[in-house]
Assembly symmetry: C2
Homo-oligomer: 369 residues x 2
Amino acid sequence: MSTLDDPGTPFLAVDAAVVRANADRLGKHLDGLGVTLRAHVKTTKSVDVAALLHDGRPAPITVSTLAEAEAFAAAGYHDILYAVGIAPDKLPRVLALRDRGVDLTVLLDSVAQAVALPAGVPALIEVDCDGHRGGVQPSDAPTVAEALASVGAVPRGVLTHAGESYFADGDDALRAAAAHERDRAVQAALALRAAGFEAPVVSVGSTPTAHFATDLTGVTEVRAGNFLFFDLVMAGIGVCTVADLAMTVVATVIGHRPDKGWILTDGGWMATSRDLGTARQRVDQRYGLVADLDGTLFDDLVMADASQEHGILAIRAGGTAALPDLPVGTRVRILPNHACATAAQHDRYHVVAPGSRAVHAVWPRIRGW
Amino acid sequence: MSTLDDPGTPFLAVDAAVVRANADRLGKHLDGLGVTLRAHVKTTKSVDVAALLHDGRPAPITVSTLAEAEAFAAAGYHDILYAVGIAPDKLPRVLALRDRGVDLTVLLDSVAQAVALPAGVPALIEVDCDGHRGGVQPSDAPTVAEALASVGAVPRGVLTHAGESYFADGDDALRAAAAHERDRAVQAALALRAAGFEAPVVSVGSTPTAHFATDLTGVTEVRAGNFLFFDLVMAGIGVCTVADLAMTVVATVIGHRPDKGWILTDGGWMATSRDLGTARQRVDQRYGLVADLDGTLFDDLVMADASQEHGILAIRAGGTAALPDLPVGTRVRILPNHACATAAQHDRYHVVAPGSRAVHAVWPRIRGW
């Protein structure tokens, strides 16, 4: 049996039991609210990780690329939402999937996109809820639906995403973001119904709002993706604790600069990504927190800086702990700021159980577009 | 023949003629200084791109991962420097390459690493020149060399890297960084020679110092990698102009937010990386400049923000140009901040000629470690 001491560093370790616990927590919450989860696979990009969600049974999913759609379709997933505004030159791949029996729904927010759709393709209309991305105002949704109907495409409903929730400060702000996301989506659905469209799908979601929603009346499905792994940005917002982080980067100590208080590793930004998402939060974790190979955090130690293949571990600004004694060759685990970005730097996961170094599986990730 | 209108976006376009011109410029400069180029392949990670350097003939290279070393060895490159401090558990792969006849040199800066080396393995001793990474002080190099000799490993010389040069402000500062980098390396080599070691290799380099060095007396080789592609950080430092950028991200317009002055594309941070390296420079280019598919820049247009698969194009802060009219489906090219980080988000290059949309080759990139 391989262990975390064996693979060449840097690499990703994923604790499957933590993933399952994160999945259970959100699943129970959404069950209580009477809505379906349509998990977003953009963070984990792994059929094997997704199988932890519903005991391996294919379920409705959201994808961020057609490459994800194609890989999940090949694995038996047949209810797929491609939640990035559709570009017309991607339609041949959409049709190829639909011809294989996949119920692939696209997303759009303009008449130009709507009239480019082939007949029979279902689309959700993107609705803006907080000015962070695309989307029409709820009252403009019927115009897009009429354009869809005019070419024989299928206006299936509405979608919104509370991008603002990633910047929310405190539980009240998160609950308000979730309520606002629901309100905007439901408003748009009501506008569609008033115009004679059925709008059976009312889709909302982000990892923060999915966890903080208290009433999703009128919503039919919730999208969330980050929640399976979580990360320091989510912990900083208060959606999870650091103990809920399921994915870490394993790196090896390659040097020391006692004059600077540095421990150098072979895990640079190529292994963690350039994401410094906690820099805008109350506690800046720099490139991440640092644990030993068994997962125990070192007090006040952060990955303070990075070049392409070098990480610099140091006591955080204002930290009082002593720099730990980590000889050359010691392996450590970096807890990342942003699981989506860190995972994207790697091609596979090494799967472990809590507190164990045994690697019981290696799961591939989906790459590219 | 495929063109830039054909591949699914986002993808990378590389202009091979610009790469060749960048290679020629540095080659001539280093020829004039009487030193050898040991190109760093960490930016381009492509045997095909490296072949533009020396008319396809294998030449000395620097690598940042053993995966690069293995791929280049398979392509006939036999003089390879692995320029990240060696971790003992990577030695089996080092020895496997050496057993195949590859003259692979490792890097280290401690007695602990030195005494872990098997007999016969050559090593450069990393010397700190400006406090940005690892490395011993020049006067401490003999201690590491003695440790190498004690186990029968081969102290081949010294290496330093002017990490500070990426933050240099102006030509005088760049020339000073280059002179300092040389001075520190030569000091260390002299210390080794005074202690009875031959130190045949004196290796320096970074893309900024390689271009701004005016006297490399005592240096035997220069390392640089970014210079083949260049990027907006290098243009901001003054090492190149924006016209010298050889690599761009091609993305497609997927929406508009006239109320916000935004054009949305399908090129998010997954396509560009999270690198905001120009944020610390005089001109913050955000996620990059924007050109049309033929390479003509749009005035004042930047990729202002990004989520995973969405880019937001907008007129830069203080810009006076009008937002261009780019309908849904229009393809644009994003000029990146940091070529190393942006290229790492992709698995291949689409190779074009200047001012042409014809794709005359698709070249794979080396991934992982």
